[in-house]
Symmetry: C2
Subunit: 252 residues, 2 copies
């Protein structure tokens, strides 16, 4: 009998998130599952690693083909612990999410969900980040199952090129069924910040981060556009930040 | 009289770091300087943003053509505050560093120093991250002045393409003078983690993150190679994570 693939599951909304539980249920259909999740929400943690305090993972479930650890670390810490310390073998796949909120377009750069899968890509472990364009803790994930399974099965079978991961974003559940999958580019969009200024009881000024998402990208083949049209948006993303085209042109 | 350029200076080692103070001194030669720095070290914070607590910047210096704020935020928070709230005009340039430790190769993905300049690039503000391949808090920065000024002047004059920033890494000070500047690619290297396992007085296991940097990239035009040969390594880096070559090839 062939050994089942080992799938490492993490996220950035923390271990209690409905999106993580949905992903665990789906992954159990495809392999042995190890969850390494943060005890507290880690949204906006990007590719951060914990260096000031030690990591203290706690094993909270150990069943046939299923283990679960909770940690005080970030999503990237969780993957690092998984790759090198907690798991008995190297995972065959890392999946992260399903995030409560879109990680399309520039959101990827802030995303702990995507940080986790990019960390896997550094060590040649295929990874897929799944996100739903619905921030609600009670978001409805009932339309994603078939697509999550289809994309994951393909990556389990065929792998991904070196240094590449997938950023998969689902439109919010609506009355219209999903139209299919589009492989697209990261839209050039941004958050226009609008910090909310307040004064505390001691007279000190403080700011809550806020902002409005602005997509001014007119191209027809972006993740934002695909989602708006009711498709699942898949963007292949790289751990190489280099602008290769620019190398020849820059002189000092 | 033409208005002097406004240069926003930040880093991820915190406001007390020698590298930040060096960068401030150099930037004062080129324009009006606004420092927005973290009160505490933020190494390894990548592109993280603070969402759990509000930001509380404190103005600690306000002089002719020089202001300085300290914050409880990350390097990316500092840039966001600068772009939208604290500064009276949009900065003409963001410089970050000089980091105590290399941000070449895969280190960029973990780097708060580079997070800050990439955040500027999202809003079309040219940015340069400077790092020295020497982690010591007492690192010797005496060989970098001319290069920092040369690169910065060029970017102030010519700008950078949309969505691009520069990742500049200096070799550690040695008896051999720097040989010049090379515009190069991010090397394909990685940290091989080796968590140090300990047991606390209450019997709980915990782990300190550690690791060895392994560069197996044989290419002659990488940042790691250039630094090893005694050059200043400049890598143009993008905020677009998309693997554009792969889009046509992926199907589901």
């Amino acid at each position: 009998m062939t050994e089942k693939p080992l799938i490492l599951v993490t996220n950035d909304d923390g271990y209690q998130a409905a999106g993580l539980r949905k992903l665990v249920l789906l992954m159990k259909q495809l392999g042995e599952v190890a969850v390494i999740a943060s005890e507290h929400p880690m949204s906006g943690m990007s590719h951060a690693v914990t260096v000031k305090v030690p990591l203290m993972p706690r094993l909270v479930a150990k069943e046939e083909e299923y283990t679960e650890w909770l940690t005080n670390g970030t999503p990237v810490d969780n993957v690092k612990l998984g790759k090198h310390t907690l798991l008995e073998r190297k995972p065959d796949l890392i999946v992260s999410g399903i995030n409560h909120g879109s990680n399309a377009s520039i959101n990827i750069i802030y995303s702990g969900t995507m940080g986790a899968v990019l960390e896997g890509a550094i060590d040649g472990i295929p990874g897929i980040g799944f996100s739903l364009d619905d921030y609600s803790p009670k978001a409805d994930f009932s339309h994603v199952d078939d697509y999550v399974l289809r994309i994951t099965k393909k990556v389990l079978t065929e792998g991904l090129p070196e240094g590449v991961a997938l950023n998969v974003n689902f439109p919010k559940r609506s009355e219209t069924p999903l139209k299919g999958i589009k492989v697209v580019r990261q839209a050039k969009a941004r958050w226009v910040e609008d910090f909310e200024k307040r004064v505390d009881p001691f007279g000190r000024t403080y700011y809550w981060i806020g902002g409005v998402f602005e997509n001014g990208d007119p191209r027809s083949d972006t993740d934002e556009k695909a989602m708006k049209e009711g498709y699942v948006a898949v963007v292949p993303v790289k751990i190489d930040f280099t602008d290769h085209q620019l190398i020849e042109k820059l002189t000092f």
